[in-house]
C-alpha cells in the first residue's frame, strides 16, 4: 500500500496541540452539553477552569484544528436523502483551478483531490453533492459538468445505497 504522499504534510502542517487539547476534543466530539453553561460542565469533567476551556477552543479555532463550532445538522434526517459522490477526471494542470471553483459551490459539501489508480480508476477530483432526490443531484452534477466544460475527461456519480457503518472519530485504538 502506498504511503501517504508527503505533499499532505506540506499543505496541511499539523498545528501543535498538547495532551489537554486532545482530551478537550475527545470530551466534546460527541457534542457540547445542552445545559446553560456547557463549557463549565466540560471544564468540570476535565478538571480545568471554564476560562481555560474557552481559551483553548478559541486557539484551536484560530489555528484551524477546529473548523467551526456550531449546530451540526443531519442532512439525511432533513430530507437530503440522495447523496451522490461525483468523481471527475481533470487534467493535472487544471485541478487546482477547477477544484477551487467546484469547492466554492454551495451544494458541494466536500471537494478533494485524490490520486488516480490507472487504468482502473482515472478520477482525481471528488465532489460530494447532496440533494433530496437523484434528479436534484443530477441537475447539480450537470452544473459541475458545464463549469468544467472540455476539462472534464470523464466523470461518474456514485450514489450511496446503504450506510454499513458510521461511528465517531476514534482517537486511538483504545478510545
Amino acid at each position: 500500500m502506498q504511503a501517504l504522499p508527503k505533499i499532505i504534510n506540506d499543505i496541511f502542517p499539523s498545528p501543535p496541540i498538547d495532551e489537554t487539547d486532545r482530551r478537550l476534543i475527545a470530551a466534546t466530539q460527541s457534542g457540547l452539553p445542552l445545559t446553560p453553561r456547557p463549557y463549565h460542565t466540560v471544564a468540570e469533567q476535565l478538571g480545568l477552569k471554564a476560562e481555560e476551556v474557552m481559551a483553548r477552543m478559541q486557539r484551536l479555532l484560530a489555528v484551524g484544528v477546529i473548523r467551526r463550532i456550531g449546530v451540526v445538522p443531519n442532512h439525511y434526517a432533513l430530507g437530503y436523502r440522495a447523496n451522490g459522490m461525483s468523481v471527475w477526471n481533470v487534467p493535472d494542470d487544471k485541478v487546482v483551478e477547477y477544484g477551487q471553483k467546484i469547492g466554492a459551490l454551495d451544494f458541494v459539501s466536500h471537494c478533494y483531490q485524490r490520486p488516480r489508480h490507472l487504468p482502473d480508476w482515472p478520477y482525481n477530483l471528488f465532489a460530494m453533492v447532496h440533494g433530496r432526490t437523484r434528479d436534484e443531484v443530477e441537475e447539480k452534477v450537470s452544473r459541475i459538468a458545464r463549469l468544467l466544460g472540455r476539462h472534464s475527461r470523464g466523470h461518474a456519480v456514485l450514489y450511496s445505497t446503504r450506510i454499513l457503518k458510521k461511528t465517531g472519530l476514534r482517537l486511538s485504538k483504545n478510545s
Partner: protein, 177 residues
C-alpha cells in the same frame, strides 16, 4: 412540483422559524462564552430555555447530530478513503469483515463497480497501511487507497434549503462564498 409533501421532517416534526434559524444560522460562530445558549437566544429574540429545549428536541429527533466542534481531518491522527470492487455475492461478508476493524469509522455501499467505500482512521500512516493490507490479504480483493491530496472546500457549514425550488438562492450563495 412540491417535495414538501414527501419531506419526512415536515411529516414528523413541524419546523418552526426558530428551528430554521437554529439550523441555518448557527452552524458556525457558536458563542465561546459562559452562557452561549442565552447569547443565541438574545440574538434571535427568544428565551434561553426555548433555545435549549428546542435543540434537545431536534437532537432527539435526529435532525441535529450534535452542537459542537467540527475538527479538521488529520489534525488528530490520519485517515484515508479506500474503495473495493466486491462481487455482489460476497458483499455482505466483505462488508462485515471491513466493519470489524475499529479503525474503520465509515463504510458505505455505493452503486458502481467499486461498490464498497470506507474510511480508515488511525494514529499514523503505518497503522492505516497495516489495516488496508490486512483487508486485502484476508479478502483477496484489491483495496484502492485514495488519500486526500488537497481539500478545495472551505467548510462554512451547509446551506439548508427549506423550499425545494429555491435554486436561485443557492446560486446567490455560491457567489458569496
Amino acid at each position: 412540483m412540491t417535495h414538501r409533501n414527501h419531506d419526512p421532517i415536515n411529516e414528523t416534526l413541524a419546523m418552526s422559524e426558530l428551528d430554521k434559524q437554529l439550523l441555518n444560522e448557527f452552524q458556525r460562530d457558536f458563542p465561546l462564552t459562559s452562557t452561549p445558549y442565552a447569547d443565541i437566544a438574545a440574538r434571535i429574540g427568544v428565551t434561553e430555555q426555548e433555545v435549549i429545549a428546542r435543540l434537545r428536541q431536534l437532537r432527539a429527533a435526529g435532525v441535529v447530530g450534535r452542537v459542537g466542534a467540527v475538527i479538521r481531518p488529520h489534525s488528530i491522527g490520519t485517515s484515508v478513503l479506500a474503495a473495493m470492487a466486491v462481487p455482489a455475492a460476497r458483499l455482505e461478508q466483505v462488508a462485515a469483515l471491513v466493519n470489524g476493524y475499529p479503525e474503520v469509522n465509515h463504510n458505505y455501499e455505493r452503486e458502481h463497480r467499486y461498490n464498497l467505500w470506507f474510511v480508515v482512521t488511525a494514529a499514523d500512516q503505518d497503522d492505516i497501511d497495516a489495516v488496508l493490507n490486512d483487508i486485502q490479504r484476508r479478502t483477496g480483493i484489491r483495496v484502492l487507497a485514495l488519500p486526500m491530496l488537497e481539500s478545495y472546500h472551505i467548510d462554512v457549514g451547509f446551506k439548508l434549503h427549506w423550499e425545494p425550488d429555491d435554486r436561485d438562492i443557492g446560486e446567490i450563495n455560491a457567489n458569496h462564498q
